[in-house]
Symmetry: C2
Amino acid sequence: MHRSPLHQEFILHFGEMGSRWGINRTVGQIYALLFISEEPLNAEQIVDSLGVSRSNVSMGLKELQVWNLVRLRHRPGDRRDYFATPDDMWEIVRTLIKERKKREIDPTLSKLRELGMQDSTNEVDRYAQSQIGELRELIELLTSWHDDLNRLETRQIVQLLQAGSKLRALIKTTGNIVKLPKGRNAGGRFQETDS
Amino acid sequence: MHRSPLHQEFILHFGEMGSRWGINRTVGQIYALLFISEEPLNAEQIVDSLGVSRSNVSMGLKELQVWNLVRLRHRPGDRRDYFATPDDMWEIVRTLIKERKKREIDPTLSKLRELGMQDSTNEVDRYAQSQIGELRELIELLTSWHDDLNRLETRQIVQLLQAGSKLRALIKTTGNIVKLPKGRNAGGRFQETDS
DNA sequence: CTGTTATTTCAGAAATTACTGAAATAATAG
DNA sequence: CTATTATTTCAGTAATTTCTGAAATAACAG
């Protein structure tokens, strides 16, 4: 299938960025292709457009479905699967954040809670335990904020972002609730250097 | 160097998560080790603790410095380099977000702007251009919001997060400014399916 | 059923990324 | 300067990830 230079450049860019986003090149390219295609595409059309193997496309589409980043569509009288990206771009952003949290944050939060259970009468572990506890609290705060955001509609989120300039105002309405970090190197045997 | 079971489990977990976070196992382990160590460590101590090669540690520390995730320290009369993680955990979070934005968002924003310049009198590119433009606007909005956040102090950010329940209130103070997405599949030749 | 088309699975090949040991470079003390 | 210690570089190897082609499975239509 022939693609315009604009399409090609867009698709190749998403392919190259794929590795930085934790997906592989083909998955990035498939997503880009669906994103700029007005009509849903079937696997064979994707193969033709990208020049990769049918099996690779099959696996890529499966991964995109696991990520909840594509929607399945069908034409009457056509039993092939067609794929499209969601229409609401902010839904895509929310999905991306949610899925990344699931993969990158949640397992660590579980592990931190698990490690926090261990009662370390052990003196060596005292500092480690306090660091682990602080990190867990930090992630829990971010997580609950994320949950709050996820209860909002697309329209509300956009409004919130556009109210960026009002951030400072909001802060003045809340008290100073939290203790600030204590700082390490109490004995002072080390010297700070450049950055 | 002997490490307690707590230390070991924490370090191994960060190593395993490394690949999901876009760093390799060794870099993840080095960071974890520094994070739970009360005193700064030198390269040799890291080698002993992790059981990897000296050169691997050297490369890992270099990468952590590129990411701005470690600080260099020195002891008087000792010319070896010592390393520590920043004391303020929220500074770490901010750094992580900033650096990931630099790697994962900024190049794509540049590319989208570049592609948006192309005047596509071409009919095929009309839809692609509108998608690219919408995506660019979305990223620009997120980016400027991120810039706003970065101007805040740690204390203010924590307060903002803890004010999560006040989000809805804030939204009521802002008008409905933005047009909502239009939706694809105008002709309606495709049928929606499951998820 | 049987034949045809669509999709998935999977073992091995290809490509990429991570790691090591050895050698080079850098920094400093004497 | 020379010897010693600290750090980096890098070519080759190991480990991991991605991709392909072939075979298996699934989903129909007739």
